[in-house]
Symmetry: C2
Subunit: 229 residues, 2 copies
Amino acid sequence: MSQTEALSQAGMDRADPTPKQRDIAEAATRLFMAQGYAAVSMDAIARAAGVSKATLYAYFASKDQLFANLIGTACSRSGAHSVLPTEEELDLRTTLRALADRALRFLLEPQSLAIYRVVVAESVRFPELGRAFFERIAESSRQNLAAWLKKQMDAGNLLPRDPVIAAQQFISLLRTHLYTRAVLGVDPPPSEDEIEATVTAAVETFFRAYAPESPAPATERRSESALEP
Amino acid sequence: MSQTEALSQAGMDRADPTPKQRDIAEAATRLFMAQGYAAVSMDAIARAAGVSKATLYAYFASKDQLFANLIGTACSRSGAHSVLPTEEELDLRTTLRALADRALRFLLEPQSLAIYRVVVAESVRFPELGRAFFERIAESSRQNLAAWLKKQMDAGNLLPRDPVIAAQQFISLLRTHLYTRAVLGVDPPPSEDEIEATVTAAVETFFRAYAPESPAPATERRSESALEP
DNA sequence: ACAAAACTGAACTGTATAGTTTAATTGCGG
DNA sequence: CCGCAATTAAACTATACAGTTCAGTTTTGT
């Protein structure tokens, strides 16, 4: 079994996951996300799953396959969470703000950060994981948001621009230094204030760039961090 | 020697690097960046450096220390490259575009991507590396750019807003899907057209958000990727 | 030239780990 | 109650690797 095949085969053997299989998958996913591929031994996985090593190998052919399988699945699950607004009776700016808030909090979830870290770390040795993350999370969320933005553009609520680029930029405006700090685990962890400030700044800038008219609201300066000792 | 001390001590023993020490450092840096911490053995490093294992251990106390040392140094070197414009007689938009172009190309360099990958991968086990990357690369470039943007704001060339947030958003607008794709090694590698399109879109959006007046130039739609099968 | 220092190659220790095997045990349907 | 399949614990194989040691060789400073 080559590493490259492991993932494509992953979706196939999901017909009827035995309870043991679920135990193994959950324990292994948790360990892999917390510590990465190399730092987790198959003995540790068996122990954490409350299962013998023989059983582990009865369900999963190798460590590579187990890893690719689980992280690929984690990407799918994570990417399935749509972050788009369901009802949108309100002001567009308010809707965008709520959307940005949910999206940033999703990005900052320990689960999301762990997936990102482990995929970045192993994307060289497991290229299919890089592709899975990119397609099932990054690309899919971008396309979903683009479709929604396009509706807003068509309705005249936003300037008519390439909606894919707009979506991309909206997401990028949320993945700022606060996100980088969280990815790298640099203290302190994101505070409520920082999250809100980042959301506000992102929506503000996005709106100034994509709002159809320019009422130029007089916004006072804010500083999310630094500058003051 | 604890892992945590390794980095802080790193800068100290740099007084006079022996040629052998340089050989080791270069070989090890190259290997660590290409394959990550766990996948590189000390034997492989010694072999690649053309040095015996005893010599390796004469210069570096442990694999942990070697790794933290080298990647920390790589962060410093990488962060030292300023990306700011030296002369700025031209139109601000043109200057910004050149700046964005250089910054994005820097972000997409194999070297930059390798440092980012390895730091993200090991920031859990080597927290000081996460901090080093964040402070010496992310934070420093943000502050440099913020200072430059502040001058532009003070000169009336940009709307007076928090320059740190503006800098952060400018950089974020460059770290879009193209960058994510490169980080994850997803094919195809960034093309010249994609780089230019991303730069153009970023500058466009930044300018619409931060330009003092709104001449609202009629820009036609562009699509960097996707949407077409 | 000579002595000290740096360096080498190779063997060695101890440990960790992927994956296998086996004999004994448990659970379950008929 | 029997027998079959799943499971277990533990021992086992084979390998890889961090780090050490040492006898011998090369380099270097004086």
